[in-house]
């Protein structure tokens, strides 16, 4: 009953959003694209990192792989197939990385994932310049902004749906136990390794697709553009800001932050960095538990169940 109602509301909202391009101007549409992109990235990030406690900075590695795949293949095969190939590449890389990083924890995993993203960028650059003898690539696809928006919206909805579904399955339960205590988890027979890898891979495929879908907007793609570490940082900050262990947390972090960035950079182009930084510090002090936590504190009385769930956290290497 409650679930049905929730779905009804979500579906209404989704429909409303899908019709948005008919009513807004190109700039608002661009805003919606950026927003949906980051909501999806942050939700996908939280799907793995928010639930396992492994903070990843590899977001842009997958995002960039997606964008580059489109740039390389857009002239040679039909667009849907390109997206499939991008997803497949994302899957393979994610599996490799997932298997390799099983032993890493805490900040070691954080920096490892960052190094990985940079390595991918370096290798793509080297391959393009030394083997192909070119660097930038052009994407001339007949895709309008609204097409990109609809694809992203669908992906965002799918991501949230998957997150919701996973929370309800055995996998979700396993994740809760892992996030609390890995030793306990392994004792009660949860296959930690595969749970983590499955989730990491899923989250990586979504990130790859975000990059692949957004790439046609830029016409010109080069590693410095699509592998910019800023994407990883923004995704992480948005998800943490919203509350990474909750279904709506990343979205509730991404939306206000994205709009805030936009407003600040438009209104104060010369003091953007200073204001942004100050606001960030204020936010950290005022919203210690993220947006979701803040809303809960403000509007709900705490039930004992609330105390069980914890905000995303970095796992200690030396626990």
């Amino acid at each position: 009953m409650k679930t049905a109602l929730g779905f009804l509301v979500a579906l209404t909202v989704l429909t409303a959003l899908a019709f948005a391009p008919l009513f807004v101007g190109p700039y608002q549409l661009g805003l919606l694209i950026g927003l949906t992109g980051y909501v999806t990235l942050a939700s996908a990030w939280a799907l793995f990192s928010g639930r396992t406690g492994y903070v990843s900075l590899a977001t842009v590695a997958f995002f960039g792989i997606g964008a580059y795949t489109v740039a390389v293949l857009s002239e040679t095969m039909p667009y849907p197939l390109v997206l499939l190939v991008a997803a497949a590449i994302g899957l393979c890389v994610a599996l490799l990385v997932g298997l390799a990083t099983l032993r890493l924890a805490g900040v070691y995993f954080v920096i490892f994932s960052f190094g990985l993203a940079e390595l991918v960028r370096q290798l793509v650059t080297w391959f393009e310049t030394s083997v192909n003898g070119t660097l930038g690539r052009y994407i001339f696809l007949p895709l309008e902004a609204e097409h990109i928006y609809w694809q992203l919206l669908a992906l965002a909805a799918l991501t949230l749906l998957l997150t919701w579904w996973i929370q309800r399955t055995r996998l979700g339960l396993a994740l809760k136990v892992i996030a609390d205590d890995e030793t306990v988890a392994s004792h009660i027979g949860i296959n930690i390794a595969w749970t983590k890898i499955a989730l990491f891979t899923l989250s990586a495929i979504i990130m790859t697709l975000v990059g692949a879908i957004q790439a046609p907007r830029w016409t010109y793609v080069e590693p410095a553009i699509v592998f910019s570490p800023t994407v990883s940082f923004l995704t992480l900050i948005m998800a943490l800001f919203g509350g990474a262990s909750r279904l709506w947390g990343p979205a509730l972090g991404a939306i206000p932050l994205f709009l805030l960035f936009e407003w600040l950079s438009a209104s104060f182009p010369n003091h953007y960095s200073i204001l942004l930084g100050l606001l960030f510090i204020i936010i950290v002090f005022l919203l210690p538990r993220g947006v979701v936590g803040f809303i809960e504190d403000k509007f709900q009385r705490k039930s004992p169940a609330d105390l069980v769930e914890k905000p995303a956290r970095v796992k200690e290497a030396d626990q």
């Binding site: 959003l17 700039y27 805003l31 919606l32 927003l35 650059t125 800023t230 709506w248 939306i255 709009l259």
Partner: protein, 409 residues
């Protein structure tokens, strides 16, 4: 049963937040024509800020000040309207620059948009300039594909030439010096693994071959490289008299320093972006003498000298000796086209394509929307970065080769 639980409440909250964000309308200001709105999005922060800070932004600001000090932009009927600037920071992100230009065109409804910095970013916004009918005077974009782009986007203008232009000019300088017996016919080349470096080096390979210069060392390095010890050693060991680096400013500075430390004295030393910065001449003093690069200026051109003096006076620093004057000139072209044809963007674009303009860089007439009269090679001589190629253009200085050995500082 129907009690709304916390989770559901949150779900509604999340949904309504998305709705709010999507529906947030921003009122467009009425156009009462007391000003001409000029907008631009450039990288004030992030990785591109260094390039923007020297070639693009100071010139935009200088031009706006110059125009407004003179009473504003002149229209065909002789009236003047002041410029109102709307500026955004694209934070060196492709997504941001695309959205900012969309915003300028559709939200702020500015009269003209000045282009961003960099080849990639100019390409990223070209479809938007085209869709909304804005002329795009792309300066800080070196590309050999300009003719194709002009076909695709007929209001795009490409003012800094392509890799072939610079590579051919360099190859000619080398082949002349080689046939004079000043240097041998071998060159060692390195290039930054970036759109700029690759564009130039792929053009340089055939250009060198046609000019009878043998490329004996040819490697690419990633942007951000700080140590060039082995590159310099290999280049020195290659037996080439000429060393060419299609580099970015940090590496240009590093190469200059490290060549001195290693006592590496090629007879021709050609470095990339950064060599034409005034600070390069200042930092390296006598050791800058003879070093070559892209660009250069004609110090006997009074308009250019006047521009340089004003730039220094207003912005507090000297402009670079390659793209800056072109950036300012492109704005003068826009200003003059508006004076001749008014604020109608199609008419202005037509004028930009076909008109002849007096600018700080001399008289400019575009060919197929491209500026073809450019200084392609420059050399530091007596503390000035003079233009040495094309040699047949008025104001060209004769290159001094070989470059003298490093002096102890």
């Amino acid at each position: 049963m129907t009690t709304i639980t916390r989770r559901h409440a949150l779900r509604y909250l999340g949904a309504s937040a998305i709705l709010l964000a999507a529906a947030a309308p921003i009122a467009a200001t009425a156009d009462d024509r007391t000003s001409v709105k000029i907008g631009y999005a450039v990288s004030k922060t992030g990785g591109n800020a260094g390039g923007v800070g020297i070639t693009t932004l100071p010139n935009y600001e200088l031009w706006v000040k110059d125009v407004n000090d003179a009473g504003g932009l002149e229209l065909p009927d002789g009236t003047r309207l002041p410029i109102e600037v709307i500026e955004y920071d694209d934070r060196s992100s492709a997504e941001e620059v695309v959205r900012s230009v969309e915003r300028l065109a559709t939200q702020d409804e500015v009269d003209f948009i000045l282009p961003p910095w960099g080849t990639g970013f100019n390409l990223a916004v070209a479809p938007l300039f085209d869709r909304y009918g804005y002329p795009q005077l792309a300066v800080s974009a070196v590309t050999d594909k300009a003719p194709e782009f002009v076909k695709r986007w007929d209001k795009s203008y490409w003012l800094l030439g392509g890799g072939h232009d610079y590579a051919d000019a360099l190859a000619k300088v080398l082949s002349k010096a080689s046939s004079d017996g000043t240097i041998n016919s071998k060159v060692a080349m390195i290039s930054v693994a970036d759109g700029f470096g690759i564009d130039l080096v792929t053009a340089a390979r055939p250009a060198m071959e046609n000019a009878g210069i043998e490329v004996v060392y040819d490697v690419t390095y990633p942007a951000g490289t700080t140590d060039f010890t082995s590159v310099i050693n290999e280049a020195a060991a290659s037996g080439a008299d000429s060393f060419v680096a299609f580099s970015y400013p940090p590496e240009t500075f590093a190469l200059t320093q490290q060549a001195q430390v290693a006592n590496f004295n090629p007879k021709v030393l050609y470095l990339g972006v950064g060599t034409a910065f005034p600070v390069y001449g200042k930092n390296n003093g006598a050791n800058a003498e003879g070093i070559m690069s892209l660009g250069g200026i004609d110090y006997n051109n009074p308009e250019n000298m006047a521009y340089r003096a004003r730039h220094e006076e207003v912005t507090g620093k000297a402009p670079d000796l390659w793209g800056s004057v072109i950036t300012y000139s492109s704005l003068q072209m826009l200003q003059e086209a508006i004076k001749r044809r008014g604020l109608d963007r199609d008419a202005v674009s037509d004028e930009l394509s076909n008109g002849t303009f007096q600018t700080a860089a001399g008289e400019i007439t575009l060919e197929d929307n491209q500026l073809r009269t450019l200084w392609l090679t420059g050399q530091w001589q007596d503390g000035k970065f003079v233009a040495v190629a094309p040699t047949d253009r008025d104001g060209a200085t004769v290159p001094i080769l070989p470059k003298s050995a490093w002096q102890a500082q």
